[in-house]
């Protein structure tokens, strides 16, 4: 075969796929997934399968990326319920910064959900709208986590003295995050 | 109305490259059936002037590209460019396209009040 460039193009595909597998951050992995889709479309077209290349470009690059992005955005998040009247300033701000850095280490986001009173907060926790709550009790804060994985993660890494961490024992706590 | 039709038919014929009666019929019906949004009409004069600008932008872009290659531009800055208010969306789009197309300038942001934030590369000035 005199078309030696085919080998060069074919070598790009395993290269990009290894790059994709080695990624840690989910968003970087998404971008590399797009690159993989583009390279795959190129290879398929070169090998003489325009229909497969077209499908790869439409589904692999466009649809899959968009769906993955939505999935990553909605699942890689820890939702913490707080009360509106306890403002973001002062000690709670420090606590949230510490929590955020712990969560960010695992490529997740911390999302604060504000509620008006304690009743609503507890119903939301029971209804699994949020993963945990953070309430002021006197001088310190009490954090209640619903999921065991998140509880263990925060317990081992949070060094702040102004917070007391508890794990909410639930009847059906097998649910995985 | 007519502008839309011509635009869609052009794309259809470029894509299919087939001038048989059946193909013309299919293209016509598709371009009539596709929905279109409401846009306020522009005058023919505005269109002609912007068309001239687009044709002129292509050699201009190449001149700027060679300028960038031969004399390295290492400094960057932001400027604001004023344009006239009350332009239709399509003309604003074409304006942004024209500014971004030339390699020395990129529109970063468009404000409703009628000015663009433009990012430029310039040659470093000797202090």
């Amino acid at each position: 075969m005199n078309e030696s460039y085919i080998y060069a193009i074919a070598a790009l595909l395993p290269l990009t796929s290894i790059m994709l597998v080695l990624q840690v951050n989910p968003y970087s992995a998404l971008v590399i997934r797009g690159i993989l889709g583009a390279v795959a479309a190129l290879l398929y077209a070169v090998l003489g399968a325009p229909d497969v290349a077209l499908t790869e470009a439409l589904v692999g690059t466009m649809l899959a990326i968009t769906l993955y992005a939505v999935a990553v955005r909605s699942s890689m998040v820890m939702r913490l319920g707080v009360l509106v009247k306890e403002g973001e300033d002062g000690s709670r701000g420090e606590l949230m910064t510490a929590l955020r850095s712990i969560v960010n280490k695992r490529q997740m986001r911390l999302e604060l959900v504000s509620y008006v009173d304690k009743e609503e907060l507890h119903t939301a926790l029971q209804d699994k709208d949020i993963h945990g709550t953070c309430l002021r009790e006197g001088e310190s804060y009490s954090i209640v986590m619903r999921l065991q994985r998140l509880y263990e993660m925060i317990q081992t890494e949070l060094v702040s003295s102004s917070a007391i961490l508890t794990y909410l024992e639930n009847s059906d706590s097998q649910e995985k995050h | 109305m007519v502008g839309h039709l011509i635009f869609r038919l052009t794309i259809w014929f470029l894509l299919t490259a087939n001038l048989s009666w059946l193909n013309i019929l299919i293209g016509l019906s598709i371009s009539l059936l596709l929905p279109r949004g409401y846009t306020n009409p522009e005058t023919l004069k505005e269109w002609l002037s912007i068309l001239g600008k687009i044709l002129w932008a292509i050699p201009l872009a190449y001149i700027e590209a060679f300028d960038l290659i031969l004399r390295p531009h290492n400094d960057e800055d932001m400027v604001c460019e004023q344009v006239e208010k009350k332009r239709s969306h399509r003309l604003v789009f074409l304006d942004i396209l024209l500014i971004t197309f030339t390699p020395k300038t990129i529109v970063v942001k468009y404000h409703e009040e009628g000015w663009y934030e433009v990012h430029r590369v310039t040659r470093r000035k000797k202090p």
Partner: protein, 94 residues
């Protein structure tokens, strides 16, 4: 003669590609890299497609469509990337 012009266009395009892509490796801001990418990806690619057009005039409708798509989409993409990367920190109410 036609062959010569077409090869010139192709080689100029590839040189543009090289020149515009190498700054990606440097430590410059996103916007600066976007400028050099617009040289390589829009103008260089246009030059390459034009060279191909002269080489095989039979496929002109497709290549003209490709040039139009390239100009429109790449330029809009440059604008969108510049807009999104610069206003990532600031909150934008739309």
């Amino acid at each position: 003669m036609m062959d010569f012009i077409s090869y010139t266009c192709l080689i100029v395009g590839v040189i543009f590609w090289f020149w515009g892509t190498i700054p990606l490796l440097s430590e410059r801001s996103v916007l600066f890299k976007l400028h050099s990418l617009s040289v390589s990806d829009t103008l260089g690619s246009m030059s390459i497609i034009f060279g191909l057009l002269l080489k095989i005039p039979r496929e002109w409708p497709l290549l003209v469509l490709a040039i139009v798509c390239l100009v429109l989409w790449n330029t809009m993409l440059g604008y969108v990337l510049a807009y999104c990367s610069s206003s990532g920190e600031k909150r934008e109410n739309r």
